[in-house]
Amino acid sequence: MPTLEFGLDTFLPVTVDEAGLPIGGDQVIRNAVEEAVLAEAVGIDSFNIGEHYRTEFMDSAGHVVLAAIAGRTERIRLGTAVTVLSTQDPVRLYTDFATLDAVSNGRAQLIVGRGSLIDSFPLFGFDLADYEELFEEKLDLLVRLLRQQPVTWSGNFRSPLMDQFVSPPIPAGHIPTWVGVGGSPQSVIRAARFGLPLMLAIIGGRPERFAPYVELYKRALQQHGQSELPIGLHSLGFVAETDDEALKIQWPYYKEQFEWAARERGWRPPTYGQFLAEVDHGSMYVGSPETVAQRIAAVMRTLSLSRFDLHYAIGRIPHDRRMATVELYGREVIPRVRELLTAAPEPDDAAAVVGT
């Protein structure tokens, strides 16, 4: 079994204080640093920040936050979840993360993908219709910069490079870069073609339905002559002392997120029944440490995963509750998942666990 990695992912949501009032964006960012420092203290392997350009998320310059975390920690890996590569300049992305890798003594990592929102396209002057071409071209350049400099390269969306060295240099194999996919088969194949590990973003429905995508990835790796590579999963969740407490805290904030959109557009917010179904057998890992650990271990076995990232505390859940989830995830959930996976039953038993 490859080395297991357990991460935390966050978009730095604007949270509320104890009185239910939103706190300032600057405080949200400093709170995230505290959450990451705690994450290291309780043994979590990585802390990964998204990339959005909206009023409810403060993660528009995640690499700066990661650098601050680097200065306060020694071991935890520092990454993205996800970097919206299509609207970034790969050269700038390289310089940011090679520098982060240096200040953190080799702890930088990336997940590149589309993300589910497209705000960065109009903001930076890109056309969503070019999405596929943009991603393909930028991934090609990024991978070249990471793997072998100098780089000679030309494309359609930026100026060409001729025998170009970009500083700072990084040691071979540094800045592991995963490709995040949300279910597009072509994206799965692209990850394999570039020889990059696969990060599945599953935010709804039964996770076992992604088993064919895992198979597709493995077949595509073979077809492109690549060796076996790790597969990870990003899903939503919240951990509290008991199942009831976790549900009680997470549900109103989950609901609230969609109610805003519902008011604006005349949409229907999710029902509590739908939320419970996701918690029970879908893609939300909400509950006591034991409940969450059982579900994570089951999905890791079923999909042959070696990495699991918990996108923790959805919505405006206050900082102290977020801290409590970080602590329980690190101190109780992760050790329990490791224990469950070490005592791995036959694959048939694993499927049974998922089905319960």
Partner: protein, 230 residues
């Protein structure tokens, strides 16, 4: 005019007025998560399915082999020639890249859903008072557009297929101006494992569109019939 499409009605119409009832060919344009999931469901229902991506058939060969075994990977032109019913399963912001005459005379099931945060701002689709399929019909004037198969997330399509008569069988609507086309789509829905509901003309498409919940609501045939007649 809206009626609950009981299975008997759909079958009765089929056997008396459509001699080609046994035409089990289906085309799917779009080999993404939805297209491949639908292909798998259609193959299981006994259909001969051809599917295309945006390029040559070889580009999607491995995807189809793994995700939709038994389906033929083809070019979009071949898919259109393959069947009288073709499903439009491309990302919504890309349907305008397809030629306006591509589906001439064909039944085109518009399974796309427009969601601005994902598809980008499209003034025409945002404003469409009769639902986005009316815009799709305008782009493909010679196609017999039926709005259907858009109500469920692709994973729900997989999880909710049930045999005829199952108590928890859910409904999928079909809205279109060509009644014969709507009935043929209803027959397809039934064979796929869903209770078909006639949702009226194409410009009655709004009730079939996503309501913004992260998890699409599922309905019984009775519930959906009420929803589309409101």
């Amino acid at each position: 005019m809206t009626s609950v499409a009981s299975i008997e009605l759909a079958e009765g119409v089929a056997s008396t007025t459509r001699p080609e009832v046994d035409d089990l060919s289906l085309g799917i344009v779009g080999a993404g998560k939805f297209g491949t999931t639908l292909a798998r469901a259609a193959v299981a229902a006994g259909y001969d399915v051809a599917i295309s991506g945006s390029g040559p058939a070889g580009d999607i060969a491995l995807t189809i082999d793994v995700l939709a075994a038994g389906t033929r990977a083809a070019t979009t032109d071949e898919v259109v020639r393959h069947a009288d019913i073709v499903v439009l399963a491309v990302p919504t912001h890309r349907f305008r890249e397809l030629g306006s005459d591509l589906f001439a005379g064909k039944i085109l099931i518009d399974a796309t859903n427009y969601w601005e945060p994902v598809d980008g701002h499209d003034p025409e689709l945002t404003a469409a008072p009769g639902g986005t399929s009316t815009i799709v019909q305008e782009h493909f004037p010679s196609a017999r557009v039926v709005k259907s198969l858009n109500q469920l997330g692709y994973h729900q399509l997989q999880e909710h297929q049930r045999p005829k008569g199952a108590p928890d069988r859910i409904a999928i609507g079909a809205a279109g101006d060509d009644h014969l086309a709507v009935r043929q789509v209803m027959r397809l829905l039934d064979r796929l494992g869903f209770d078909p509901v006639d949702a009226g003309p194409l410009n009655n498409g709004l009730p079939l569109e996503p309501d913004g919940s992260p998890i699409a609501t599922t309905y019984s045939a009775d519930e959906l019939s009420k929803l589309v007649t409101r």
